[in-house]
Homo-oligomer: 332 residues x 4
Amino acid sequence: MTKFLSDNAAPVHPKVWEAMRAADEADNPYDGDTLSSELDARFTDLFGRECAAMWVATGTAANCLALATMCQPHGGVVCHEEAHIEVDEGGAPGFYLHGAKLMLCPGEGAKLTPSGIAELIDPIRDDVHQVQPHAVAITQASEYGLIYSREELDALQHFARSHGLGLHMDGARFANAAASLDGAAAYAAHGADSLAFGFIKNGGMSAEAVVLFDPERAELVKYRRKRAGHLQCKGRYLAAQILAMLEDDLWLANARHANAAAQSIAGGCEERLMHPVEANELFVRLSANERKALRAQGFEFYDWGADAARFVTAWNTRADDAEALGKAIASL
Amino acid sequence: MTKFLSDNAAPVHPKVWEAMRAADEADNPYDGDTLSSELDARFTDLFGRECAAMWVATGTAANCLALATMCQPHGGVVCHEEAHIEVDEGGAPGFYLHGAKLMLCPGEGAKLTPSGIAELIDPIRDDVHQVQPHAVAITQASEYGLIYSREELDALQHFARSHGLGLHMDGARFANAAASLDGAAAYAAHGADSLAFGFIKNGGMSAEAVVLFDPERAELVKYRRKRAGHLQCKGRYLAAQILAMLEDDLWLANARHANAAAQSIAGGCEERLMHPVEANELFVRLSANERKALRAQGFEFYDWGADAARFVTAWNTRADDAEALGKAIASL
Amino acid sequence: MTKFLSDNAAPVHPKVWEAMRAADEADNPYDGDTLSSELDARFTDLFGRECAAMWVATGTAANCLALATMCQPHGGVVCHEEAHIEVDEGGAPGFYLHGAKLMLCPGEGAKLTPSGIAELIDPIRDDVHQVQPHAVAITQASEYGLIYSREELDALQHFARSHGLGLHMDGARFANAAASLDGAAAYAAHGADSLAFGFIKNGGMSAEAVVLFDPERAELVKYRRKRAGHLQCKGRYLAAQILAMLEDDLWLANARHANAAAQSIAGGCEERLMHPVEANELFVRLSANERKALRAQGFEFYDWGADAARFVTAWNTRADDAEALGKAIASL
Amino acid sequence: MTKFLSDNAAPVHPKVWEAMRAADEADNPYDGDTLSSELDARFTDLFGRECAAMWVATGTAANCLALATMCQPHGGVVCHEEAHIEVDEGGAPGFYLHGAKLMLCPGEGAKLTPSGIAELIDPIRDDVHQVQPHAVAITQASEYGLIYSREELDALQHFARSHGLGLHMDGARFANAAASLDGAAAYAAHGADSLAFGFIKNGGMSAEAVVLFDPERAELVKYRRKRAGHLQCKGRYLAAQILAMLEDDLWLANARHANAAAQSIAGGCEERLMHPVEANELFVRLSANERKALRAQGFEFYDWGADAARFVTAWNTRADDAEALGKAIASL
């Protein structure tokens, strides 16, 4: 059985296991340990601008804690109508933001644009009867595996600042986005005030990073993380995962591998693609019979509506398997 | 350096590591994997009554999710004035219970009694101006390492039921309590509607269990767990930890070891003890100079106020070290 | 200056003033007074089914308190995408429901239909990643002044029950709806589990009623009302307003008057109407120049987008003024 | 029957009625009317420092909205253990502050002192496990009718500022406090960042004022007021009440009257007083038999525990009745 279901159940990378084992010796609990203390500096190096970074166990928590630094309970967060925070997080933003509203914006490929956001928020009257936007959340790579370019991010940053809005980036697949942008982390996160930097899909086990490009907001996140039950007492095992992923750019290598596998598949089905393949997800037009045929050959994947399928590659996808899938689709 | 600071930073037990590694092969994400699916049955066996069990990463989350099944946002939870949920969880109950109130009750050794609770809640007028109690939360073993006996639990259960209150048990050190009660899990959790069953302090890495003795409440916990960002996508690694701890009663063996170490220390300082030593914590009257002397011998521990110290043993405390500490105190 | 801006700033009806003055003598505070105690019985009479009724100062509070009886914090409330609770209540449902989600449904004339709701909620997967609907909220009369007929309500009730959803009715202009349905309150509220019965727009000053057709839910509303700071100590003045409105069906007489005035205007602009006029609101296609011309004649009203205007009549709209407005539009 | 139960059910003062009737003519809805627009200036005049003022219907809402400007959801508000916000507001602070914690402080006569607060908050470790205080709330006059002097307020302000805490004043009986301090509003509110200025007990019907001495915080209160369902559409009737009370210092005259009545009663029972009588409340040691005897003479009042009674005077207490009560107690 060859799985292209999702990257979210992939095994843990051997180097991550190693780092976790190496963290076994007792250290201070919570985030008082040596490894956790290194995070700020490591991410500051990576992004080339001062930042604060904290581990949490899920992207949902990472997104919500970051958004809490930007959006008051009576405000709103503009996001794509198919954004993960709207569609797949069980209402977590409503919980963490104490009832703030997600303001849903359409947009090609699950990406937001300044003009799209403007269309949504410009009609909002500046009075207390209407929830005012406080922040914008984008996803890099988007829910359809598309990448925001430096220019697009620049435009969004400019828009957000001129409207007094925070800009958060959901980076569940940030590594795949950065890999797609020549590995430039700073480039891929350009303009964001905060980033939920995902490591779990990319070879980690249980650690994502909340990265704040305004380190003064870290205190709020730290208090809220504890209050949300996300301050693990053996936090060193989470820090170890993240540090292992950053070491020698393992995060990028893994993501490049997954992206390459996606390209390999894409090579076999270009005319069927619903979206360009820019990261590690493919949305492919396939009839029910075609999907059946693929499954009969041992490929696992999710249906995407009635006439398509989603394939996701991961750090551990075998190149052979990807190639085989591409060929299988091409042969349909 | 011999650490008696806390059990919350102890290493992960080798068998837990093994089990995690064995879970590496991809399975369904979240809690749809084989291991997670076994939890209900395993805890039902353990407690001898039907229950639902779900992993979460922290005791704080476990406590709060369980309490959310019992306490409406406009209600209150009676707990000891020194309870962990009141003193050390950063206001998490206020967050998870949407503003419900902790109603603080005194009580010897951080334990609650029916009469103590009655004294607190009987004067509450049955009108909307006053927050009404919806639940009671106790800690087994208590914050001072004391155990609720079967009889005490029986009385609390009777009190809670007759007052229409849910009864939750914070079991961060439930294993130590059960070990102290001859290993009888059912006995140690008698009467509780829910239990936050701690594994992390006792050899786990990042998995506690929310155990609900009314399985119908599980759906609420599952939705709220997701909403709180606590539904990890690689949940099989958490289930693996718990199952490893339950296997061959590793949880009990570890707790017995820690308890024995505590008894060994206690043997050297009985007249100095502030509380009986019933689990793995010791609160010992020691002057500043005496503490200094102990630290000079390499013992690490926390001060407890101005005239005492707290020592905590763990699954990995060496018997020699415990004995040495006992002797060192005796020699002061 | 003849105002057709809104009914929400109309004067208080003389009989309401009288009743308030008559309540001046001290009685028990909060809702322990004689007048407040009469509400349950009065509404039970009116609707012909047992109900509990409580005053609050605004429709926003009434809607939210009622919805809190039906929707858990992790659930959702289906409402029209232009519903007042979504568009004009400053995020109050997010606050009162502790982060629950409004699930927006399109629908002609701001009315919901079972098929429209089904289209929205049927695709929601029955898993914890997606917010599940717990309730449906409709507005009677709708935001465009349209009435749900007995048959439509029947269908909605059937849909709601078969899907396990509560059914709430926002009745800010319930009186106008009932008046339009031959005065039958029971008929206009058919199928609803709760009703926010509006009196303020219709001649009251500061009292709406939360009407619960399942009186067992009253306790929750009472605790939540207090908790929201809506339990006024001199509540008898609010009860007095409501009782005065119910007395001799003043509420219906006032609403009939307003509806008749709306019909009178409608007579002059049928071909310009964006929606049928079924209550006391008119949405009329008028160019900027036409609106200017009307304003030059002393008529006050709100623009409705770029090419239309909204006119609202009230209990105190003078028949002459309505007629004059109808003629003025006809003459454009 | 002569009522000394509470001032919270007293009739509305004739001048307040007049002002409300005079507001009958339609004006802009919500707080866009002429009367509401005057509030900022009127309170600025009264207090001699720039302030923003908004009406709400209850003291509970006023307190909570003001506190929301000072205390984050993860923070705490220090208040007296018998403060109204803790004991009698049905958990409203937990709701409005999204789960923030009330931190209970003892203190003679329900008053707080810097040293009392310090004793409570100094032991709080500056780490995320413990809820940090964000604000202090005091009550002027206190729940036992005691007044904070200028010096005491000065000390509290100094303490609050030096600890980075906001200082809120619950002024349900602020008028009685100011009357007791020679009528100096500025003096009675000295040092506070916000004041819930009560008018209802003192002759109003349904309007209290949130007064913010930092007008920049007004926007937050306005958004939160709407979100809490407290922005009434016919707000001019609330503004009218407040303006009538301020006109010619009616608020002070009423309070002086009530205070004088309290003094008159106090004259008959000085040796029985549990607290000095500084405003309009008396707490009087009276056995069950004595209370029975007084009630037999037609006096109404609340028991205060087993051995005492509470008497409250109001703007409409007749001097004769107060004198009679004083004599009746003296004759026991």
